[in-house]
Amino acid sequence: MNCEQINMGAYNLHLIKTKKFRSIMVDVNFRRKITEEEVTYRNLLKMVLLNSSYDYPNERELTMATEDLYDLKLISSLTRYGNFINSSFKIRFLNEKYTEKGMNSESVKLLMDVIFHPNVKDNKFDEDVVNLCKKRLHKAIKSVKDNKIKYAQNQLLKTIKDRPYSYATLGEIDILKDVNASNLYEFYKTMINNDLIDIFVVGDIDEKEIKDIFKEYVNARTYKKIDTDIIAKELVPNKKINMLNESVEANQTQLVMLCSLNDLTLKERQYVAMVYAEMLGGSSSSILFNKVREENSYCYYINSYVKPYDNIMLIYSGIEGNSKDDVIKLIKDILNDIEKGKFIDDNLNNAKETIISSITSGLDYQNSIISTYYAKELVGSKDAKERIEEFKKITKEDVVAFSKKVKIHTIYTLEGGDTDEEDND
């Protein structure tokens, strides 16, 4: 599998040719430096663009069109990479070898239509569509609280001001109120014209055919784009851990710990941080899982994950409210032990092997293939083979040195325990 990168002027095209898949994936990415306001706009915009287009002016017609194209999958997502906010619009469709001739270009044209030929009249989006999508987004923002695990993490991150990760991922209701069909269209134009654009194609494709489609449709005209540093500003480590809590009506208490990471080297950011987080709480062979769940039965899940480009790490678990202090103490002890090098080689080797496996198996999925090549573009990361070699070289000393840069910054608990024990029988 190799990737051909072509500078198309206003955008980069990445063609990844492989016969491995029956389907083809095309992913169009727009990114720029994040602002709080923009998160809401982008969330709404992806809903509006996927709802209808100029040729298919309502949801029903657009969905039927995707079904006629052998159930083409039309997907949009919003992701943050450090200081960047990224809107992705993508399709996955069956290669015409398995359907009928002409379907490849028809499918790509539908995506182009959705992105570059939206349902716009008189310099604004269709009012009804915008209003419907506003309601949908409003509902989604309100429903975040249904997922207590996610909600607790959001609540904690919100308390950190002035960092890209402190903005709610779905946006804010207060900002949403002021969005309308005209200002959203203005925003859309800035996205098309000012954002950095990367397009990925994975599958068994006719290069010339697809390039011609992009040349015809990709309606981005601005060639001067402002790049930005992806790495978020570090947190100042807290001398005294910040303790926060909130009460909700729930059975379980959610515990979330935010750790600051400071002065990371390039190697730590790209490799060691991942190994550390995997070893600590990546899977059921991790230290946290073994000590907190298996040895002490405090929880069903406990995980840690690192955001190296945000300079933070999170640990989270669902526990019984009255075991909170014991669990926190146990986790602190575990972090201290790692700093002192008190962990066995198996912990480290297993974590490395798990990461290496996931890089290898990622080659079986179009999504992860795209992520790998996009990471190259975003942070200059190396290809799968080289990364595997780098991970193999990580030593215990590397992990211990990194662990000294991990400091608990804030501990947040979303406290439940108010509801009566249910017994349905």
Partner: protein, 424 residues
Amino acid sequence: MKKITINHVGETIYYEKLDNGMDVYLCSKEDYHNNYVTLTSKFGSVYHTFIPYGEKKEYHLPNGVAHFLEHKLFAQKEGPQPSEFFAMSGAIDNAFTTFKNTSYLFNGPNNLKENILFLLKYVQEPYFTKENVESEKGIIVQEIHMCDDQPEDRLAEAIRKTTLHNNPFRESIIGTAKEVNSVTKDMLYKCYNTFYHPSNMFLVVTGNFDIDDIMEAIKDDQRNKKFRDSGKIVLKEFKEPDKVCKKEEIINMDTEIPKVAYNIKIPIDKLGLSKREIQIYLNILFNVLFDDTSIAHEELVKDKIITSPIAVETLNCDTHFVVSLYNETKEYEKLISKIKDVLKNIKISDKDIERKKRVIKSNELFAYENIEFINDIIIDNVVYEGEIEDNMIGIIDSVNKEKMDEIIDKIDFTNASLVVVKKK
């Protein structure tokens, strides 16, 4: 070794029944890197009343035992614990319990043969002690609390409780804290001895590997292990009335927007088709009537009753299908009355049917791109039908308007329950 070629999809599945009764299914795909392996016992939450192996009297389990057993099979008397063993080669292990089966699994690109043998070893060598059973209770209670805090899980439980009377699909897979606390080591051994004999289990390997080599290793391993005779599994029979159990249930919990499901109970034996065919017809019918390509959707959105599309879920409970129409909206009363209206006067065209057939067929092709989905399809086929369906595309192709009209005539669309989860 039998070769099963999946028509139109072009994939091949290899099958063999071992001497000890275990079924093995293998599917290898060129160019892939990862492997996905599942070992399944045809024991899930619905088998709660049975005659234990070697006994004569019927035995009734509290809810949650199949799931508890799943947790505890990971315990090893000595040597590395499963997660540690699999992690050594970078593989990830897991397990899940459903209504009719419990599956133990791992996935990873390396060390396939040794990992399969270890999977067989740990599942075939139970080690339950009073202490390790006790220490698991706190963990499972936390899992129950996690589920109880999720409105969708509460809704799903209530859908089954309101539609079913005696069918064991009615009962919770995970159980309540009280039930879990009543589980004993003996209970787990009774279940294990009755349901985990190789003749009630099957192994599925999907990924990229040498078929003969892997099959030989599995056969070799099993040939050298001693098992008792298979025994006959005797389950308690039940009669399930066709009518729903309860017309309405409101659950109060902390959730911003009410969640609502309208659940139609459909007897299987009256439709004169196989379960697989019924499932396809119901899927097409209800999606044409209610998904985002439907007229009803367009009208409901226009009237500001819903904002997002109605989701259609089908549950196959052996005796009945329960089709649930799900949405989140404050205007759920208006939504239900609209659903009832649509169902009173069903209109479905040839064109609609053909479009949905194309959708289902395409998704069969999409699924075979992913080794995890292929594994899932095989498990589903074996658990629900006892064999691999090699002509799914042909079955979908045979769907026609005439038969659809016949089915519509036979279904009582008013035989339904309403479940709402909302704030007090």
